[in-house]
C-alpha cells in the first residue's frame, strides 16, 4: 500500500485515498465514513494516477450521472465516467462531490484543463476494471477500490 493522504479540509474525517500495486497498472482505493465519501476519495485516487490532485485548480465544474445494478459496478461506472470526461475535455479533476441514491450516482467534478508544465501528467487512464473490485463497509467506514488500466 502507498502512503495515504489525509484531506486537510475534512479535519478529522476518515476520508482518504490510497494506491495499491498491480503488475502493470495501479489499484485505486477510496475510504470514507459514507459510501459517497469513499467514491469521492476513489476519484481522487484516480486523479493521483495522472497527477498530484493538490496541483489541480478547481475552476470548472462538470456534472456526472451514472447507474448500475450494484455498488461495485456503480464504482466502475463512476470512475469510467470520469475517465471519459478527462479524455474528451482534456481535463483533470481535483475535487468531487458525490450523492448516491440506491443505484444512481449524481456528482460534480471540479477541475481544469490539463497544463502539461504544471500537472506533469504521467499517464492516460484507459479504463477502470473489475479487478480487485470491492465496495464494502466495515467498522472503520466504507472502502471502494478497483484496478485501473493505464
Amino acid at each position: 500500500m502507498t502512503k495515504a493522504l489525509e484531506r486537510d479540509e475534512h479535519g478529522v474525517s476518515a476520508a482518504r485515498w490510497e494506491h495499491f500495486p498491480h503488475d502493470a497498472d495501479v489499484g485505486v482505493v477510496g475510504l470514507g465514513s459514507t459510501k459517497a465519501e469513499a467514491f469521492e476519495q476513489a476519484a481522487l485516487a484516480l486523479t493521483a494516477v495522472v497527477t498530484d490532485p493538490r496541483q489541480v485548480r478547481t475552476t470548472e465544474i462538470v456534472a456526472v450521472e451514472c447507474r448500475a445494478a450494484d455498488d461495485e459496478l456503480l464504482l466502475v461506472e463512476w470512475l469510467n465516467a470520469l475517465v471519459f470526461e478527462m479524455a474528451v475535455r482534456g481535463m483533470v479533476f481535483g475535487d468531487f462531490s458525490v450523492e448516491i441514491d440506491d443505484t444512481t450516482l449524481r456528482a460534480t467534478a471540479r477541475g481544469e484543463r490539463v497544463d502539461v508544465g504544471r500537472h506533469e501528467p504521467a499517464v492516460e487512464i484507459k479504463g477502470a476494471t473489475m479487478t480487485a473490485l470491492r465496495v464494502a463497509s466495515g467498522p472503520d467506514g466504507w472502502r471502494a477500490q478497483c484496478v485501473v488500466d493505464v
Partner: protein
C-alpha cells in the same frame, strides 16, 4: 509462482493439469526463472480461462505473462462457436490492437547519429504524444465510420502512406467484417481528435540501431543488417478502443448469467460468439482494430515527414505491423483437423511460420516478422514465426518485457530527469512532455526483455533474428 503446482514438460513448458471446472490444461511457456517470478495470479488466471465454454486444446501463457484482467496479459486461448465457444472483451483488453510497427529507414548508424538531436526534435514536434495531446486530424461521424471500416487502407486512401505499406500489415491493414455502427457515440467522441497520436504509458516511438543479428539469412530477407537504422512505433486504438473495452466488459459481465456462463472472475466477462452481444462485440472490436491500424498508418506518415525533413534520402518501408490485443477468426488444428476458431491474444503476438497462406508472398518462404518491444533503455527484438508454434500456441509468441515494478515503486526509485540524463550518457535521447511519465517507465521497472525473448526462442514460439537498441525515444 509456486513451481510445485505445475507439471514440468520441458525446460520451457509448464502445465497446469485440469482440475475443478477446467475443461483443458493450462500451459505456461518460460524458463524456470521467468515462471517462478510470475505472480501467482497468472496461474489462477490461466486456469480460469481454461473453464470457459468451447475452449480448444489449452489455455496458454507466453513467457512475458503477468497479472491481467480476467485473462492474463500474455494469454492465448481459442474458442469454437460450434461447441458453445465464447468471445471475451477481457480476453482482448482495453487497448484493442495495441501493437508494434517497424520501418526500415534505409539509413546507416553513422548518418543518423550525426543528426539524432534534430531528428528527435522533429519527431517529438510532429507526432503528438502524452496526456491531453490532440492530433491535427478532426474526424466527423461519417469519416469515423469510413475509418472504422477501412483501417490502414482508409488512411492510405487519404494520403497517409502507400499501397505497398498494406502488404506488410496483418490482414492487409483492414480487419474484415468490422461494424462501425456497433461503436458507441461515446467511443467515437473519444477518438474525434486522437487520430495520429501516440498516447502515453508504455507507448513510444523509437529510432533504433540493429545492434546484433542472430540469423543472417532471415535478417537479410527482412532487409536488416548490423548498424542499419529502423523506427518502431508502439501504440494502439487510443480512446476509441478503450471505450469499446470499457462498455463491453460491463455489458458482458451483466449478460453472462443469461447465457448460463459461470464466471470465476467478473473480469472474464464473455458471451457466446453466436449471441447478439457476442456478434456486436466482434463488430465493434474489429472496428477498434481498424482504428489502431489507421492510427499507426498516420503516425508512419508523420515519421516519414520528420525523417525527410532531416535526411531526405530515408526510405522508411514497413518491415511489418503486429497487433497484440485481438480476437481473430483463424484456422487451427484441433483434435487432428483444421477448423475455424476465435483466437484471443491478450498481450501476445501472432507468429505465423513459413508457408502460411496469410503471409504476403515476399514473406511466405521465411515466416512472419515478430516484433517485440523493449524499454527505452534496453533493447527490442525482431523474431520470426516457426512451423512448430502452430502446435505449441496457435502460432503465438510473447509481446514485450512486462513490468517488474509498480508505477508507484518506480516513481519512488527514480526521477524523470535522472532517467533522461542517464540514458543521454549512454547515447539515448529521450523526448517526453512528462518527467513523471519517464520515471514510471524507467527501464529498471521492466523485466529483462532478453530473458523473455530467449525463452520464446528456446520454447520454439518464434526464433530470434535481430536485436535493436534505441538511439531516440519519444514517449507520451
Amino acid at each position: 509462482m509456486d513451481l510445485s503446482s505445475l507439471d514440468k514438460k520441458s525446460d520451457h513448458e509448464w502445465w497446469i493439469p485440469p482440475a475443478g471446472a477446467m475443461r483443458v490444461p493450462g500451459v505456461i511457456y518460460g524458463s524456470e526463472t521467468l515462471v517462478r517470478d510470475m505472480d501467482e495470479k497468472v496461474r489462477e488466471q490461466v486456469a480460469n480461462v481454461a473453464t470457459l465454454p468451447g475452449i480448444q486444446r489449452a489455455s496458454y501463457a507466453m513467457p512475458d505473462a503477468h497479472w491481467g484482467y480476467g485473462f492474463p496479459i500474455g494469454g492465448v486461448a481459442a474458442f469454437d462457436p460450434r461447441e458453445g465457444g465464447i468471445v471475451s472483451a477481457g480476453g482482448v483488453g482495453f487497448d484493442i490492437s495495441c501493437g508494434v510497427r517497424t520501418l526500415r529507414t534505409g539509413l546507416r548508424t553513422d548518418v543518423v547519429e550525426s543528426v539524432a538531436r534534430t531528428l528527435a526534435h522533429e519527431l517529438s514536434r510532429r507526432v503528438p504524444a502524452g496526456v491531453g495531446s490532440h492530433g491535427r486530424i478532426h474526424l466527423e461521424d461519417d469519416e469515423i465510420d469510413a475509418m472504422l471500416a477501412g483501417g490502414a487502407a482508409w488512411a492510405v486512401q487519404h494520403g497517409y502512406g502507400s499501397e505497398a505499406d498494406l502488404d506488410r500489415i496483418e490482414e492487409r491493414g483492414c480487419a474484415a467484417d468490422a461494424v462501425p455502427a456497433a461503436v458507441s457515440p461515446r467511443a467515437r467522441r473519444r477518438q474525434q481528435d486522437e487520430m495520429g497520436t501516440l498516447g502515453s504509458g508504455n507507448h513510444y516511438l523509437e529510432v533504433q540501431r540493429v545492434a546484433e543479428v542472430f540469423d543472417e539469412a532471415v535478417a537479410r530477407a527482412f532487409g536488416l543488417a548490423v548498424d542499419d537504422i529502423v523506427v518502431s512505433i508502439h501504440c494502439g486504438s487510443r480512446g476509441l478502443g478503450h471505450q469499446i473495452g470499457t462498455e463491453f466488459l460491463r455489458d458482458m459481465a451483466v449478460a453472462a448469467p443469461r447465457f448460463g456462463i459461470v464466471l470465476p472472475d467478473r473480469e472474464l466477462a464473455c458471451a457466446p460468439v453466436d449471441s447478439e452481444i457476442g456478434q456486436r462485440y466482434l463488430g465493434a472490436m474489429r472496428a477498434g482494430i481498424n482504428c489502431a491500424l489507421a492510427n499507426r498508418q498516420i503516425i508512419t506518415h508523420l515519421v516519414r515527414q520528420a525523417f525527410h525533413h532531416v535526411v531526405p534520402q530515408a526510405t522508411l518501408d514497413v518491415l511489418y505491423d503486429v497487433s497484440h490485443n485481438t480476437c481473430k477468426l483463424e484456422s487451427h488444428v484441433c483434435d487432428g483437423a483444421a477448423k475455424p476458431v476465435f483466437i484471443h491474444r491478450k498481450g501476445a503476438t501472432r507468429a505465423l511460420g513459413p508457408g502460411h497462406p496469410d503471409l504476403p508472398e515476399t514473406l511466405r518462404p521465411i515466416g512472419q516478422p515478430v516484433l517485440i518491444g523493449g524499454t527505452m533503455g534496453t533493447a527490442s527484438y525482431v523474431l520470426v514465426g516457426t512451423p512448430v508454434a502452430e502446435r505449441l500456441s496457435f502460432s503465438s509468441s510473447c509481446h514485450g518485457a512486462g513490468r517488474a515494478m509498480s508505477r508507484h515503486q518506480a516513481l519512488r526509485t527514480w526521477h524523470g530527469r535522472q532517467v533522461v540524463d542517464e540514458l543521454a550518457a549512454r547515447g539515448i535521447i529521450v523526448r517526453s512532455p512528462s518527467s513523471r511519465g519517464v520515471a514510471e517507465e524507467a527501464p529498471g521497472a521492466y523485466k529483462d526483455v532478453g530473458a523473455v525473448v530467449d525463452a520464446a526462442d528456446a520454447a520454439g514460439l518464434s526464433r530470434k533474428v535481430a536485436r535493436l537498441v534505441p538511439l531516440v525515444c519519444v514517449k507520451g
